[in-house]
Structure formats: C-alpha cells, structure tokens
C-alpha cells in the first residue's frame, strides 16, 4: 500500500534522529538560540536585504553542520509563504513594497530557523526542553498528540479516498463538494474513534495523564557555550 504519511512530515521525523553535534546539544540550548534569532529577525528594521541574506547563510550553515539536505530544508520552509502572501500583497498594493518584502523574508527566515530546531531535535526531546523552560505541560501534551494524529489523519483519509476510488467515484464539481463534505464528517468520526482506541491502549499501559520523559537531559558547559554563541550571532549580524 502506498504510504499515506506526508513525505515532509516523515522526513522531518527522520532528520531529527541524526547524530551530528547540532543534534546532540540540549534542546534548551537550541530553543534559547531559536528565540534569540526570532526576536532579532522580528525586530530588525534597517538594511533588511543584507541582514536577511546573512541570517539565511547562518541557517544554511546550521543545516550543513547537521548534515541535512539544504535544498529540501529551504523548500519545506517555504510552506509559510502562502500564509503571509495575502498580507504582503496588501502592503504591496498599498505602495509599501519594501515592507512587503521584509515581511516575506522575516517570515521565511523564522520558519527556516524553527525547522532547523525541529530537524535536529526529536519532538519528545524538543517538548521536554520546552517543559524545562517553563512551558505549560498541558499545551505540550496537546502538541505531542497533535503530532501523532498528523500521521494518523492522512492514513484514514487515504483509506477513504481509496475506497471511494475503488467504487469508481468520478463526481462532477457539485457532487464532488457534497462527497467531500460527507467524507470530512466521516473522517472526523473515524479519527475520533481512533483517538479513543489510542487512549484506551495508553491507559492499558499505565498512562496516568503525564507523558514520561524518555531521556534525562543534562545541560552541559558545551550546551551553554552553544546557546550563547548561537544567540549572539544573529544580533551581531544586525550590526553589519
């Protein structure tokens, strides 16, 4: 059977299980560096093209260091662009072309930076890092389940699509919309039932409402050095 899990999701998951030095840093160090970079990018307001190019090269260097495919990463970060396109278009039409470009560039770089953090840290460790930095546990558990269901929903959807195709469904536009709406409702119901089954399976193995951490993390000196240097670089680049 054709694999239903989206390629981008599956590859991000496998990327995060690499063994480079960047993969091995404590997730807290990477989250601190990510936050520093996001703030530096979001608040930049002068010489955007040069700064953006410098940050882009910095992040590309990160992907190379982590031995991850740069072209694939650059393409995946572009998923953010349709979301900012509308706002950028409004700015563009309003005669603020420079701000439109700045918005698109900042959004893209932010997505690329977040992707680098996710591509070098398995999600449970990343969420563990958030927790140790004080993020609410409930939100993190919701995120973990969401991640699990991101793999599950496409599988359910694909089974339904195959079942429809097997019965030679070739509807017109109107019938297609009707069928899609019905399928969406069924997909929701089936996913809800599946979620209940997963919850049962978790309870049966002693789940008590708290996800156990799978690794104990130690914040080493090297992690502290990495956090300081990686946080300082984007702010240093702003001074160029």
């Amino acid at each position: 059977m054709q694999r239903a899990v989206p390629r981008s999701l599956a590859s991000l998951d496998s990327w995060s299980r690499g063994s480079s030095a960047l993969h091995r840093f404590d997730p807290r160090a990477k989250l601190i560096a990510l936050l520093a970079l996001l703030v530096a990018v979001a608040t930049a307001n002068r010489s955007i093209p040069r700064f953006a190019l410098a940050v882009l090269l910095f992040l590309v260097a990160g992907f190379l260091w982590a031995r991850l495919p740069v072209a694939g990463a650059l393409a995946r970060a572009a998923v953010i662009l349709p979301f900012v396109a509308v706002l950028a278009a409004v700015l563009w039409i309003g005669g603020q072309g420079e701000r439109a470009w700045a918005l698109a560039a900042k959004s893209y770089l932010s997505a690329l930076a977040a992707l680098l953090a996710m591509a070098t840290t398995p999600l449970p460790r990343l969420l563990g890092g958030f927790e140790k930095l004080g993020a609410p546990r409930f939100l993190l558990e919701v995120a973990q389940f969401l991640y699990r269901y991101l793999f599950l929903l496409p599988e359910e959807a694909q089974r339904m699509r195959q079942a429809a195709a097997a019965r030679s469904m070739r509807p017109g536009i109107r019938e297609g919309f009707r069928a899609a709406a019905g399928a969406l409702a069924v997909l929701f119901a089936r996913s809800y039932a599946r979620a209940g089954a997963i919850h049962h399976a978790m309870l049966a193995r002693g789940f008590n409402g708290r996800f156990p951490e799978m690794q104990t993390a130690h914040f080493r000196k090297a992690d502290a050095v990495f956090a300081v240097v990686a946080s300082a670089v984007p702010w240093g680049l702003r001074l160029l």
Binding site: L123, E155, A197, H200, A201, G206, P212, E213, M214, T216
Partner: protein, 232 residues
Amino acid sequence: MTACPLIQVRGLHYSYEDGTAALQGVDFRLDPGESVALLGPNGSGKTTFILHLNGLLAGKGAIEICGMKPDKANLPAIRRKVGVIFQDSDSQLFMPTVLEDVSFGPRNLGLEPKAAAGRALAALEAVGIAELRNRAPYHLSAGEKKRAAIAGVLAMEPEILVLDEPTTFLDPPAQRSLAALLSRLPQSKLVVTHTVAFAEAVCTRAVFFERGRIVAEGGVTEIAARFGWAFE
C-alpha cells in the same frame, strides 16, 4: 483448579450508552497456566468483556483480578498484571520509535529511563525484533507492528496476556510465527480470535460467546466443531 484464580468474573452485565446490551451475565474463571480462546460471532461481547479485565470499561457484576477488585486504587496494579494487546496495532503504537513505545509502559511504572529502555530491549528481543528498535512504528509491516505491540505489553511484565484478534492483518506465515511466539511465553493468555487453527495452537481451552453470554466451554476443537466454527 487452584484456590486462587487469576481472573474471576461473576454475573457481568454491560450496556453501551445507546442502550445496546453487550454483556448479559458473563461468568468466567482463568487459572494460572491456562490459555483460553474466546470464540463467538462478531458483536457477541468478546471485546467488551476483555476491556473489563483491566478497568477500561466498568459494568455491573463481580470482577476479581488476582484477588483485586478493579476499583480506582487497584487499577495501577491490575494494569500491571493484565497486559492487553489490541486488535489494531496502529492504535497501540503511538511513540516516535519502537524502543520509546515499548519503554512507555515501564516509564509509567516509575522506572528510570535507562532501566525502562533495558526492559524494553529485553522485551523486543523476546519477540525477535530488537533490530527494529530505532525505527518509526508506521514504517513496520503488520507482523512487525504486532510484535512491537506485544513487546510493549511484555515490558510491563504482566501475569496475564489478553489478545484481541491478534491474527488480523497477518498473513499465514506471520500467524504461525505469532502462535509459536505466544506458545513460548509463560504467561496465562486470553485470546479473542476467529481463527480456530490459531486458537488450537495457542490455547488449552475455549469458551463460546453468544449475545453477551458465555454459552459453552471445553476443548478448542470440540467447541469449534459444536458451533460449526472451523472454516471447511
């Protein structure tokens, strides 16, 4: 019969929220060393019954697991003793890697990560898939997923294994290999199945469910023959 049964159920009734009466007075006993097949038509209450055995459903009637009633205080201990392997392994495997998934139960029991991983690895070796420990569960074949799900339960070192239609999605060689694996495991087993040959290979006794009741019990071959359950 021993004085202390592993599972003792008397007069168990359960109705779903829509009013469907799924169990209508089930009496059942499992003694140490026994492996029992639960046979019967779809919708006869087999799965509903096994969900009661570690407190996932709570009907009316008397249930005792190793002498404990499945109330809130006893549930952690009961879930440690009764390992349930669900029909669809995809519902059971939810962690990013096989090793993390199998470690999930031991971590919930309070073991440190290293000890939990050690126990998980031993369980994966017991089911013969230790080399798959770093793979994502959704990359495994149906047979491998089933073994990973069983390892996830074995890692909790249960006394009783409850398997809900374990041969679903498995090809005949994988079914044979699973039967051989289960026969090697020392735990008492309850196996819900429609596959008589599988039940004969794994179980010492069978009970037959019909409309929410156990209507007969005996040897697997005898019960299957009496109800025309073998595929001929």
